[in-house]
């Protein structure tokens, strides 16, 4: 039950070491560790190690931090949760200059929480690479009460804020980093179709 013709649904081309950048900030969640390690393999040797920063959290997913603590990599900052990663990232970006490249690997809600906070500090979205991996599910904002649900995995869900049954649209707000959920039984209250698994 996806909506054809919606262009705002983001894509995730994957991480590619960009040697034109002067500073590299790698940020990963859970299974994203593998993508960060591959990116580091490409950067080490061409980029000065002082210019590389690695931030990682297992988040709600599995912990692969040992992939990143290998001796050949710069020492990563490992945090317990997303909020700590964002705080660490803000510390790096406040002093960063133009020419900084970010590489973000993790679940979709994680990627967009990072992008949102980075943009506020002047990072251009064009300078942020992204690779989606790990837990599925979308961040969805209820258009009625504005409550955001963090990992919605079905086409219809009940809003934790206003308890309406919401249909998850493919329309994505880059600004807020969320999909849109709209009341599914507004015309015929109580007639809620059977939820299906969301496409990734």
């Amino acid at each position: 039950m996806s909506e054809p013709g919606i262009k705002s649904k983001p894509n995730y081309p994957g991480l590619e070491p960009d040697t034109s950048a002067r500073q590299h900030l790698l940020i990963g969640e859970a299974d994203g560790a593998g993508s960060l390690a591959r990116t580091l393999d490409g950067l080490i040797g061409t980029a000065n190690e002082d210019t590389i920063t690695v931030l990682y959290t297992p988040g709600d997913g599995s912990d692969h931090s040992s992939t990143l603590t290998a001796a050949r990599y710069p020492t990563p900052t490992i945090s317990a949760q997303l909020e700590d990663v964002i705080t660490a990232m803000q510390g790096v970006l406040r002093d960063a200059r133009m020419g900084t490249r970010m590489y973000v690997a993790g679940s979709e809600p994680f990627i967009w929480a990072v992008i949102r906070a980075a943009r506020e500090l002047g990072m251009a979205e064009a300078a942020i690479q992204r690779e989606r991996c790990g837990l599925m599910g979308r961040s969805v904002i209820c258009v009625h009460c504005k409550t955001t649900a963090w990992r919605v995995s079905t086409t219809i869900y009940q809003c934790p804020g206003c308890e309406l049954h919401l249909f998850v649209r493919d329309h994505f707000s880059r600004r807020w980093g969320v999909y849109q959920g709209v009341c599914v039984d507004a015309e015929a209250p109580g007639e809620v179709p059977e939820p299906e698994e969301l496409e990734p």
Binding site: D18, S20, A21, R22, L93, A96, R97, M98, G99, T100, R101, L121, G122, M123, A124, A126, A127
Partner: protein, 321 residues
């Protein structure tokens, strides 16, 4: 950004000031003293020059402060020995009190006003759009710096005015004394979110784009404006397939100008190869592209041309017009 053929505005020349031996500033006001359309920093107008051996229509950046409903517009025109007809016309024929026709303003070179910091790099007469933008930046309280390079003190239009008003944020470079803008040095240490703007000779524009790419700047953070003067070339014939007309393009006029002389008005705006409005589908012919709008791949495909500045290598071009 309004790109359709602009409304024509009748104006009177209310001021002509020689700023340097080769640069004159012209002030235009409406005949009925009504306000002119508002504009943002970086906008240009097209000035129509009639009564010479032929009509010229040249784009010039507005340099006066961008304010709501301004009573006057100001432009500056540089005329050197190689000057094409339009600049020469402005310098030699236009006098205070003359009636002229201009287009409404259009902006192909706007500030990204959501950005916190702005680096402006001007070469020579390329300073004009920045004169308007500096006012806008100051009004909006945004951080900026200006780098202005000119050949010699005599060619340094507005240097003293800039030094007086924006001096602490401005650096001057006199190329005649071997002082050159160094784009890499300027762009290397800018905070996140900075946007850079360049207006000047093609070499300077290219150097700024290259330095930014080398330093890892996203392409979208670098802006440039360069109006190409339609270069002269060998004459050729344009066949307008849909209009069933044939137009001869002489050596010293552009295809657009020749088509207009023939009484047809194709859509156009900047007349300098920047805006893309006059793009025409090429059905036949080999094009010598001179614009800054089409990508290199599109130019190689030869399937369209900007008739304001591009010419033909072949003797004949067939357009879907």
């Amino acid at each position: 950004m309004i790109l359709s053929q602009q409304a024509k505005i009748p104006v009177r020349v209310t001021g002509v000031e020689r700023v340097t031996p080769s640069i004159k500033t012209f002030t235009f006001e409406r005949e009925d003293s009504a306000p002119l359309p508002s504009f943002s920093g970086g906008s240009h107008i097209v000035v129509e020059m009639r009564g010479g051996e032929r009509t010229y229509r040249n784009p010039y950046s507005l340099m006066s402060p961008p304010e709501d409903y301004p009573s006057a517009y100001q432009i500056s025109v540089r005329c050197d020995d190689q000057g094409r007809g339009g600049a020469q016309y402005m310098h030699e024929r236009v006098r205070e009190g003359d009636e002229m026709t201009i287009s409404g303003p259009a902006n192909l070179f706007p500030l990204t006003v959501t950005a916190p910091r702005h680096v402006l790099i001007a070469g020579g007469i390329g300073i004009t759009p920045f004169l308007a933008q500096l006012h806008e930046l100051r009004q909006r309280g945004l951080a900026y710096e200006l780098h202005y390079q000119y050949r010699d003190a005599e060619g340094a239009a507005f240097r003293d005015r800039l030094a007086a008003r924006f001096g602490d944020q401005t650096r001057f470079y006199e190329s005649g004394r071997d002082q050159y803008v160094d784009p890499t040095a300027i762009l290397a240490d800018q905070p996140l979110g900075t946007h850079a703007y360049v207006c000047g000779p093609a070499g300077l524009t290219q150097a700024v784009h290259e330095a930014a790419a080398e330093l890892g700047w996203p392409a979208r953070n670098v802006h440039s404006e360069e109006f190409a003067a339609p270069p002269p070339g060998k004459p050729f014939k344009v066949v307008l397939e849909r209009s069933q007309r044939e137009v001869e393009v002489p050596a010293n006029a552009s295809a657009l100008e020749a088509i207009e002389e023939a009484g047809i008005q194709p859509s156009c705006s900047c007349r300098g190869g920047s805006c893309g409005q006059c793009e025409q589908t090429v059905l036949e012919g080999d094009i010598d592209h001179n614009d800054h709008f089409l990508s290199d791949e599109a130019k190689a495909r030869n399937s369209s041309m900007m008739i304001c500045v591009s010419r033909a290598r072949s003797d004949r071009v067939v357009l879907d017009l």
